[in-house]
Symmetry: C3
């Protein structure tokens, strides 16, 4: 595709030779002739002098060096970069059809142009929407329903009666609908399993990462709302509600029945206790441990979680705690000396 065509597709202004052929999208450090790359941050502008890329996505105001690459100018180069990848990178999806080795229940309902890979299992009464792709080794439980245009990578478990919307992407090894961790202690100290047979609903445009686990509850439902994106190795416990457009980075864990409202961002390894409400737009930095509900719009850090600003300040003091303690010890010595001197002083002043 010529750079001119690409500029039109991406709604960018072209500054330079529009006839150059763009073959690849890449990072600026590894770029070669034929590549489109991007500078999201003006501080990397110096790369324009040295890059071998044929074209670079930049914000307005960046000036093109003599003999430098062509520029594609737009307000959000990173967004355009993502779009360029969608245009130029060959999709890896297999074509429609049912592999001969798949085991599909006779009463499963498959939409148009569904792609069922090798050794996929589709249980009784399951429904697969149009153009949905199931990669090899995936197991769809009885009565599960998947919408249209889903991409389910290899070796995923979608358990019985789980419901997926449209355009849901699930990475390899994820488990959706496993039994919630619910037990009740009996008189003899042993744990009675509380049967976990209620619903899991994954709404449209959700992405779920590799080896992530999403449990089903005993009653009620677990729900991941529209447009939420969940990274690898995340735990979503039974009865949790994850809000629209929420982002969970890898290894986040959410305990049972917690409600995460929309547009929340949890960085890597954050843990949230059960039965809480995490308000709209809350941001938790990596490894934050959240024992209580959090008001909307708050940025939190620490274990237990406190406002990020306070945590940064307290952490700065923490690393100097031994020095602070020493200052207290010194104060105690100085004050003891003063007390002694004052005792010595007062009688003489009375004399």
């Amino acid at each position: 595709m010529t750079l001119r065509e690409l500029a039109e597709r991406l709604h960018c202004r072209l500054d330079g030779d529009g006839e150059v052929e763009i073959l690849r999208v890449t990072g600026i450090e590894h770029a070669a002739p034929g590549d489109l790359t991007f500078i999201a941050n003006p501080k990397y502008q110096g790369f324009l002098e040295t890059t071998r890329a044929s074209a670079v996505l930049v914000t307005p105001g960046v000036s093109r060096p003599a003999n430098g690459p062509a520029l594609l100018v737009c307000d959000r180069p990173y967004l355009a970069f993502a779009q360029a990848l969608g245009v130029l990178v060959r999709a890896a999806l297999p074509g429609p059809g049912i592999d001969a080795s798949a085991v599909v229940a006779p009463d499963a309902r498959l939409g148009d142009a569904v792609s069922v890979g090798a050794l996929v299992v589709i249980g009784a009464g399951a429904t697969i929407g149009d153009r949905t792709v199931l990669f090899p080794g995936t197991v769809i439980g009885p009565g599960a329903t998947l919408g249209a245009d889903c991409v389910i990578h290899a070796r995923v478990s979608i358990r019985e009666r789980v419901q997926l919307g449209n355009r849901v992407v699930v990475q390899d090894g994820a488990v959706i609908g496993s039994d919630g961790f619910g037990f009740v202690r009996q008189a003899d100290g042993s744990h009675l399993k509380i049967p976990q047979h209620a619903d899991v609903v994954i709404e449209d445009d959700v992405e779920i990462g590799a080896n992530t686990a999403i449990d089903r509850p005993a009653v009620g439902e677990t729900r991941i709302r529209r447009g939420a994106k969940i990274d690898n190795l995340v735990q979503v416990a039974h009865g949790v509600s994850v809000g629209e457009r929420t982002l969970f980075a890898a290894q986040v864990g959410i305990a049972g029945s917690t409600v995460v409202e929309e547009d929340v961002v949890l960085a890597g390894q954050v843990g949230v206790a059960g039965h809480l409400r995490i308000g709209k737009g809350v941001v938790a930095t990596a490894q934050t441990g959240v024992p209580n509900s959090v008001d909307a719009g708050t940025m939190i850090s620490g274990y237990p979680a406190i406002p990020n600003r306070d945590w940064l300040k307290s952490s700065a003091v923490f690393r100097n705690l031994p020095a602070l303690k020493k200052r207290v010890v010194e104060l105690e010595q100085r004050i003891a000396e003063l007390e002694e001197k004052l005792e010595a002083c007062r009688p003489s002043s009375e004399g």
Copy 2:
């Protein structure tokens, strides 16, 4: 089932119309006519006025509102709720039989009424106990032995020679018997793998969560004792012993050779170092990091772990550390002033 029949099954006292038909068990907020629900905590008693449920499990002493639902009275409503789910919720287990697509070694021994799902692999010399269910895509290694009445969900790995007792439940994607992480550094700095071929034993009534990993050791054994319940994405390293009735919440990690005694409770994301002993009944709150052995009966928190009570108090001071530091700075100023004044004072007192 009528409410009267259910009351008898659950050993509850019936207060209200016993002829009402109970169809479902649900949470109190979503209850509808035909539903049984519960109130475990008297503070939720107000729900009795508004719920649409036909019947509610309550503790003695709760009074039934006029026109309110029927009550089932018992000492432990939550336990009765779990039992009611077991009575009323249709089991999801497939019937006995070996799916034609399963690959079963000729010398594997299968008990009575075993259920082998699609695309299950059973290795040479493996033994599967009576009525055990293997969901699709599970791989049972050579020489592994599973007891009776186990439920092994989809895509589980039970590696060579692993032993499972009776009534063990394993959720999707779990791995039992993977190689322990054992290497020894050689003279050239590279790591020589220590072969990990020893035993893993999972005793009766254990539950293991989705995508959890339980490693085998080089020598000795890894053992999960009777009635322990392990949640999703948990790491149990080589040579660990997990005590009876222990509970591990999601994303817990136990390093090699540690002994966890009976009735321990580790909340989510707790980490325990290797070669330790965690005493009977220890409770660790979420994200606790345990670098040393812990005495029986202790409740711990923090990183590194300290008694929970101390941690709560220290954490309260932590969030105000900048203020504490400021007070120390002020003290230093005041004491400097005092020292100066006293210097000024003393000569005059001597005068």
Copy 3:
């Protein structure tokens, strides 16, 4: 094998009866006649009096008790122990051949003596090196290349175009080449997926643990370098570079584009933020949270990470923070009293 033969194989000096037959390698506590065991730490020398082992690997200078076991003396008993396991423990690897139930693309290239287990899937154009073993249920994506002598355990996903070197070991359920977690927020607040189709390279002699996930990036590559060893349930995000001989314990997480240099050791549950450089030989203790780049050779701990020595000292003060605060309060009282007295003192001294 006789002890004398084993001594020669392990390059150890023999002290005792070389004709005894060694059948097993085991830990010292469970040793029985016919067993070889080891004492790596002289503080366990007392076990020599009581062990039932036939022979014990020890460092020079350990003296053999009367009627004690034979000794194999060498500088690094633990290394010799690992080597002895390699000699004496029967390998669990299946023989070469392609199971009839495997689904192998016609254009896949398989080397000599490859072992393809039951229900393995090998995609179009994939290459499998000589003597590599694929356990049941593993899925190799189109265009993936595996070197020689790899061992890929059950139910692994190796995604499209991923490259593995020689002697790579992958434990069950691991996912290599899943989509990186890359999204860009659009004007309406929704997240546009950045297509993740670039490369993942796993070099020679790497080991990857059970249910670990290694993501592919949008551009550039994710690379695990020669001899790195990665434990279970680890997250390696898109574009990360993991250095030679690096060790990651279980549940470590590395965010996108971070460079981990050679010989780094990250203990369990450590988290590292994105776009950082972790210098050669850095050691992070368990649960460390790393928000910034770290200089080579540093040992770090804490959240946020600080030098280990500082963290130990600060943590010691942390657990006594309430007492420290009390001391500050007492100082404030004493200083207030002093100020008062001095006020009282000075007029009289002027009198």
